[in-house]
Symmetry: C2
Subunit: 596 residues, 2 copies
């Protein structure tokens, strides 16, 4: 059977039943939409993903982009796939009509685009990056800049990238050294080097706009002196596109994402690279953070998609691959069974499914919060959604990638020795998934964001919002009559987590930032596991109510079983993680420098 990428029934459940998209569309900013506009968009994306993106995944994985004479040549398939995605309006799907978009709810667009990601992560990458880059100009650029850059990016004529990382600085953006010198015409002369620029060069559009962090001459040191610039590969001189002194100094050979080049860029080697300041000077990092938060939810969706497509592949393999007999079977001449009948295979599939579907619930919820924080009518409701979104963004970014990597390894394992070969795709998705724990802020960086910034935010408001959401989910499940054992388990884990958070914040207050962050990675994993379990309980509540009205295809029953597996087999990790946070691993601090 062809890989469905996502189950359509699953997406309907998450969008309509759990996500209540129709109710969301009652909000003024989204009222142009309804099931009648949203379902066709999702359907179009799903068809594009199944008919065009996925069939190109294997060839694009096999032949990486090449650097030839200073320019990147991408896989020929992209010349067909990119226009198709542009035609569907993917780039500006969530943007208002005024800027050429469709104004779709982020929730709907995220689920629609998840099909594209699952079909071909690299191909979608060009579009997702262009979206994020154009959005920055939409938010902070001048009208002239919007006409020059944004319009051409939203329409797909030019693509966009994010140029943050520098070789010497890595994640430490405070140490960015790319420089910008004011020119007489109001633009800036840019000089510097950037690395890991995804989609940093390609040959299917005439131009690429790099949204670049640089330091205006004389700017204050550290993060307070960083500005944002649009630096195009080619600049317009009159009607003419001329080279803008942006050179490609290398293409990284990557473990995965083989269809999307990651390049090293050099600006202004001949002192002829112009950039346009976006917004006010020295505000670049705060602007970039807006984009980064969206980009982080997109990475979460990448993670979900990469794990889900592998899940479907593993299920199909397990149903069709015939091998061995049940341990209880004694007759060696009995016919071998499909391996899905072996309990250990079933366990791996169930664990994979519980992680992937849970990750989907998580990312969909983050997307809905993005809609609410933009469109809610009351300022309080808006602020509440924004606060919870801020807290769970590092979770939505890292959980689908970290636990998804484990899940992707299960899909390889289900395939046995064949899973290690490129005859089958799970090994490629396993390689792809690893990047999601690294780009847009490594898991370590996410954990510092969660513990050092988000939880403590506004005197602990962040933590409070997080636990209020859990309490509300538990109350809903109780009221609906969901299995008491499942509800009780989430309640217990929540209390354990609350204690661990309180201890951690107190330690931080008493001993400072280093102590606060000693177990930040464990805390991120703890709260991620807990929050996904909560999203599961919420989905089980919906399924429980749905089941009462009838469950002819058994969808709700399977949903409840899968959620129960998560709550009973995955959630207990919370105890170990909380104990680790509480005990304070002095071994980390006491290991002397010379012992490494």
């Amino acid at each position: 059977m062809a890989n469905p990428l996502f189950s359509d029934r699953e997406i309907r459940f998450v969008l309509h039943e759990v996500g209540e998209i129709e109710a969301l569309c009652k909000l003024p900013g989204l009222s142009a939409h309804s099931r009648d506009t949203i379902d066709p968009y999702i359907d179009a994306c799903r068809r594009l993903a199944r008919e065009h993106l996925f069939p190109s995944y294997r060839p694009m994985n096999a032949e990486s982009p090449l650097l030839e004479k200073g320019a990147v040549k991408v896989h020929p398939a992209m010349h067909e796939l990119y226009p198709r995605m542009v035609e569907l309006g993917v780039i500006a799907a969530t943007r208002p009509e005024e800027v050429g978009g469709q104004g779709l709810p982020t929730l709907a667009a995220t689920l629609a685009h998840a099909y594209l990601m699952a079909g071909n992560l690299s191909a979608y990458g060009y579009v997702g990056l262009t979206s994020g880059a154009a959005r920055l100009i939409e938010s902070f650029g001048s009208d002239a800049q919007k006409r020059m850059f944004m319009d051409r990016m939203y329409s797909g004529q030019w693509t966009g990238t994010m140029a943050l990382t520098e070789p010497q600085a890595g994640s430490s953006l405070a140490d960015v050294t790319t420089s910008a010198k004011p020119r007489a015409d109001g633009s800036y002369q840019i000089r510097g080097s950037k690395v890991f620029i995804s989609g940093g060069d390609q040959d299917f559009t005439e131009n690429i706009v790099h949204l670049t962090l640089a330091r205006i001459e004389g700017a204050p040191p550290g993060t307070k002196g960083i500005s944002l610039f649009a630096v195009p590969k080619r600049r317009l001189e009159g009607e003419q596109l001329v080279n803008n002194d942006v050179s490609i100094t290398g293409v990284f050979h990557k473990m995965g994402w083989r269809g999307l080049p990651s390049v090293a860029l050099s600006f202004g080697e001949e002192d002829n690279c112009q950039g346009w300041l976006i917004g006010a000077p020295h505000q670049g990092l705060s602007y970039m953070f807006q984009m980064m938060n969206e980009a982080r939810i997109m990475v979460g969706a990448n993670g979900v998609s990469t794990s889900m497509v592998a899940y479907h592949e593993a299920v199909d393999y397990a149903k069709t691959r015939v091998q061995g007999r049940k341990p209880s079977a004694k007759d060696p001449l009995a016919p071998p069974v499909p391996i899905i009948e072996h309990n250990d295979i079933k366990r791996m599939l169930l664990q994979h499914r519980a992680i992937s579907e849970g990750s989907l619930l998580l990312v969909a919820h983050a997307a809905k919060l993005a809609d609410l924080s933009e469109h809610e009518t009351s300022p309080e409701a808006k602020a509440k959604a924004k606060l919870l979104l801020d807290v769970i963004t590092p979770i939505a970014k890292s959980y689908p990638a970290e636990r998804g990597f484990f899940a992707n390894a299960l899909a390889v394992q289900v395939h046995g020795g064949y899973g290690y070969t490129s005859e089958y795709l799970p090994e490629a998705w396993l390689r792809d998934q690893k990047l999601n724990t690294l780009h847009e802020g490594t898991t370590g960086i996410q954990s510092i964001d969660l513990v050092g910034r988000k939880l403590a935010m506004g005197g602990g408001n962040g933590a409070r919002a997080f636990f209020e959401e859990l309490a509300a989910i538990i109350a809903r499940a109780e009221a609906a009559g969901v299995d008491g054992e499942d509800v009780a388990r989430l309640g217990r884990a929540t209390r354990t987590a609350q204690d661990a958070v309180m201890q951690t914040l107190t330690r931080g207050l008493e001993q400072g930032a280093d102590a606060l962050l000693l177990h930040s990675a464990d805390m991120l994993e703890l709260l991620s596991t807990l929050f996904v379990a909560a999203r599961w309980l919420d989905a089980m509540t919906v399924a429980h109510q749905g089941k009462k009205k009838g469950d002819p295809d058994g969808f709700y029953a399977a949903k409840i079983l899968t959620g129960r597996y998560f709550i009973r087999a995955e959630l207990p990790r919370v105890d170990t993680l909380a104990a680790e946070c509480a005990r304070t691993a002095l071994e980390i601090l006491e290991m002397p420098a010379e012992a490494w």
Copy 2:
């Protein structure tokens, strides 16, 4: 700094202090050896690994073997590396002098060869496979077969492989269909297909001997009708080597182990493939199991080596890569620090180290048990060592691979974005490591072996031997005055595990094999974590005693801290796993077939 592959001090500790190799060499069968013969062998292997194998790892990883005109062309480096390994006597290192070996203790050879594996897993693979194949002929072959095959394999003139897996059968060896028809001259005519034959073809020796499972015409069905054959690529006719109708039908493109081809073989397409029956008819599987047990410890050593070399790479990177400041640092102009000063980096390194060093202790212990079960003088001591070795073989095979894969991912993570590129090696080792969870029996197969066969062995004797070993370790640690909290934690975890084992065996007795094995994978992980923690406690006992005599380089102190981290941060996983075994995940059984 050049990657040391293993720390020499570490190997000395494991060999001399924990492993007490000098005492081991007092046993009659090993008395030709002592520190004076063993240390030079290890030193020679270490130098070969550092000076020749490791420098070839990157090029061999970049250029996989090719299939050209029906023959495999391996990387040119192998033409130099293979003779060097042969010259050192690696193939027959542990075999007695009568057959051309050095009679080294398995413990010593395992540690020496670990350097070779860490340097270049694929290059070592050819040698390790030849060793195992020749050993089968040594154990079960006739004198004529030993002269024809074994002598040439131990001397390195020919290589050897294991040809078990068939495309339709996978792990289910009962379904092997390769056939063997008696010929007038006493040999057999072989016909059939095999897949995943590592080292199944190469161009640096004149011949390759495939130790092949096949079914003699009229043999009983299932595992009881499988025989073992030596099937050479070329057979001797007089002085002449002529083709033996073994054809290479494909080379698998693999995720890792890029220097060692995995091929599909076809025997007897022209009805001209001769094989020689090794030992008695229909005994093939039991013969193969002898080899498989050794091969499984070798896979464990592969896992340790792949994880350890990445650990050293990550430490070196973390010491030299300068980036960011401590969270408590306020001055943006303060110079950035080496990333090893960041607590989360240190945590990842410590976890990686605790897993890798613990895995080394585990595999070294298994190797020592192999020595004891061969050379102990009293039958009881021999049987005791054999029983414990049988029980822990699935643990020694799977733990270094499964938890090592996690550790290898940490090394990528420490490298940040660079870790995802092939400029650095951690991504290659991560890819290599995955195979160790698949070949020589997947982790699922190991778990069935542990729970279904080993624990229950002789009315629970297996489980008893396992827990007696734990009790002895705890008693030794207590007597030596090791930190009481560490000892107590291992004691508690042991009792938890004992209960879980008892429950599982009881469930099996009451409900049959399927119920016994429902949580076999969780049980394998549980007992693995526990046993590695026990090996750590044992090493901490030795370190504690060593430290009392002086610790000028801080080696013992670091050893104790690393062990403590394992016991306090890794061992608690036992609780979650035991709870999972105990609760019986009915979701796995209740998920209806149509819900997948």
